[in-house]
């Protein structure tokens, strides 16, 4: 019998990618299943292949498609993925050419599709021979590895910045930590990292933020399990600062999962009367609970729809509300490159409708004089400034407070962080106040 315990790394990556490309699944689950199948030594490469092929999907796919006489059948999307994997290794990774090709050819057999070995071998060798001219025939969308609609939206919305955004979206994101100010100061933690030979520097914008020179396994971070630090991008760490919760206040985090921002709010203001963390998904709410438990922080958990909050949340009962609204994720594409394949132009209107519904549903819960911080991880004005402006037009007791900051760009209402090669994620913040 053949050995099966450990799946071949490329074959496992191709299977996971096919589920994203043809099945429209988010990468998380297929990747987790693939990671469980391969040798632990191959897990790093498996992640690199999956993220890399999605990050460069449109470019790799543009090149490969030019070499196929006819597209592969839908059920052979794994072979198509294997071609992308082979080409990604040839063009972008430091893997020797012969190894990149032979491993991809071998993976065909592992996938039970030995008929494809000649095809994969032929296409990849041709890519190698014609490497100088591979990208000459590509469209803008393919060259920038973005879907046409998204590239158009970025160019239209950010005529000065779209190239910066596109470049950042195609890069590997930095790993950032948030120091738990109840347990450790940033300088003290940086010193502990130095002792463990983990290279790091303080973040420029967030006072609690640390940026690692390269990604590290959380178990190697000193005090991680004790709650000294959490993983959170610098941009997301601005939420607690902008919310600026005061002692004795009652706070609602209305779309809390996985709980990073809620934890940060309590860490920065432990003298709250209460923080209520709400999410519509019980499984995701369980992750909020896990995070609170690790950091040993108190919060009330509520399962409910932010657009139609449950009756237990009374009107005019919160001093501050944080809304990290469901969005396109167009500002965190470097962390979730599957967004490029999964999102469609027509999704945006539906998301905006949901965001508006959430703002409308939560507004009555706010006390007069209270503040609501609206956050998305999107760079599309339809989900951000345009949407909040629309809400302000209809909600007469709502006004926008200026965000006085040296980061991001003022974009009508609110402030937009634009992801850049060395910078933080592309989050949007708007701070609204209810008339007293």
């Amino acid at each position: 019998m053949p050995a099966r315990g450990q799946q071949d790394c490329r074959a496992a990556a191709a299977t996971a990618l096919a589920r994203v490309i043809a099945g429209g699944e988010a990468l998380d689950t297929p990747l987790a299943e693939a990671l469980a199948e391969v040798d632990t030594r191959d897990q790093g490469l498996l992640q690199q292949l999956c993220y890399g092929c999605l990050r460069h999907y449109h470019r790799l796919d543009g090149i490969i498609s030019g070499f196929l006489d006819k597209p592969l059948k839908r059920r052979d999307t794994d072979i198509h993925a294997l071609l992308l994997i082979g080409l990604h290794q040839l063009l972008d990774l430091r893997i020797p050419d012969h190894a990149a090709i032979s491993s991809s050819v071998e993976a065909c057999r592992r996938l039970g599709k030995p008929w494809a070995t000649r095809l994969v071998n032929g296409v990849l060798r041709r890519c190698l021979r014609e490497s100088a001219s591979l990208e000459s025939g590509l469209s803008d969308s393919q060259r920038h590895s973005h879907p046409v609609w998204l590239l158009e939206e970025l160019q239209k919305s950010w005529p000065q910045h779209w190239q910066q955004l596109v470049t950042a979206n195609n890069q590997h994101p930095p790993m950032c930590l948030r120091c738990n100010s109840q347990r450790t100061g940033r300088e003290a933690y940086l010193a502990r990292l130095r002792e463990t030979d983990i290279e790091a520097e303080p973040c420029a914008l967030a006072a609690t933020g640390i940026r690692l020179a390269q990604a590290a396994d959380v178990t190697t971070l000193p005090g991680f399990t004790d709650g000294d630090v959490s993983i959170q991008d610098e941009a997301a760490q601005l939420a607690a600062m902008l919310l600026d919760a005061q002692p004795g206040e009652r706070i609602l985090d209305a779309c809390a999962a996985p709980g990073g921002k809620a934890c940060h709010v309590i860490e920065s203001q432990p003298a709250l009367a209460e923080l209520v963390a709400m999410d519509s998904d019980t499984a995701r709410l369980a992750r909020v609970e896990d995070n609170l438990a690790r950091l040993q922080l108190p919060a009330a958990l509520v399962c409910g729809d932010a657009g139609a909050p449950p009756a237990e949340l009374e009107d005019a009962s919160f001093d501050r509300i944080l809304v990290d609204a469901p969005c396109s994720g167009s500002g965190v594409i470097r962390r979730h490159p599957d967004i490029k394949l999964l999102r469609r132009r027509e999704d945006i209107a539906g998301l905006a409708k949901q965001q508006l519904r959430i703002l409308g549903g939560l507004w009555p819960l706010l006390k007069p004089g209270g503040r609501l911080l609206y956050v998305t991880c999107s760079v599309l004005p339809a989900e951000n400034a345009d949407l909040v402006a629309h809400f302000l037009d209809t909600q007469l007791d709502a006004s926008s407070l200026p965000i006085d900051a040296d980061w991001g760009v003022a974009s009508g209402v609110g402030r937009q962080l634009l992801s850049s090669a060395d910078g933080c994620d592309g989050l949007y913040y708007a701070l609204l106040e209810k008339q007293a």
């Binding site: 019998m1 053949p2 050995a3 099966r4 315990g5 057999r109 039970g112 030995p114 008929w115």
Partner: protein, 168 residues
């Protein structure tokens, strides 16, 4: 040490019923070592002598992750202890690239001899039980595809025949 050629379905030699091993000598030991080398290189977890065109009742197996628990079964006999069936997606080095679900008794007792001719008894479970039964089938000229519908078996045979033609 030498790598041996593995016969592929539908090679008629895979249908040969193997003869019992009667002589435990250096040549047998050499064959066992070559079979392990061939199996590990494939990579495989089990190989029957039939698959390398030697029609003696001999199988080699290693189902460990670290590939460091080689087992030799000579003249093996299987007794079913519990008729309850277990399913496993089986593949075969003689049917490369195909995996299909096969049901087999999950609890068996195996009596066999080691490379020196000493008898031993084992009650394997899980993957090892599946693998031993799969390999013993080879010694009786049987393949896992025989458990499948004739439609599936024909499809596999045609695909492999086509590959063999292309390779030739």
């Amino acid at each position: 040490m030498a790598l041996l050629n593995i016969l592929e379905f539908p090679d008629p030699r895979l249908r040969t019923v193997a003869e019992p091993v009667t002589v435990f000598d250096g040549a047998l030991s050499q064959l066992i070592d070559d079979m392990f080398e061939t199996m590990y290189e494939a990579p495989g977890i089990g190989l029957a002598a039939t698959q390398v065109d030697v029609h003696k009742r001999l199988i080699v197996i290693d189902v460990s992750e670290a590939r460091d628990e080689p087992l030799v079964f000579i003249n093996p006999q299987v007794e079913v202890l519990d008729a309850a069936l277990d399913e496993y997606d089986e593949g075969c080095l003689s049917v490369p690239g195909f995996y299909e679900t096969v049901q087999r008794p999950q609890h068996v007792r195996v009596t066999a001899q080691d490379r020196n001719g000493e008898s031993f008894v084992m009650e394997p479970q899980g993957l090892l039980a599946v693998c031993i039964q799969h390999e013993i089938d080879h010694l009786d000229g049987k393949l896992f595809v025989d458990y499948l519908s004739s439609l599936k078996r024909t499809r596999i045979r045609k695909k492999l025949e086509k590959q063999h033609r292309l390779r030739a």
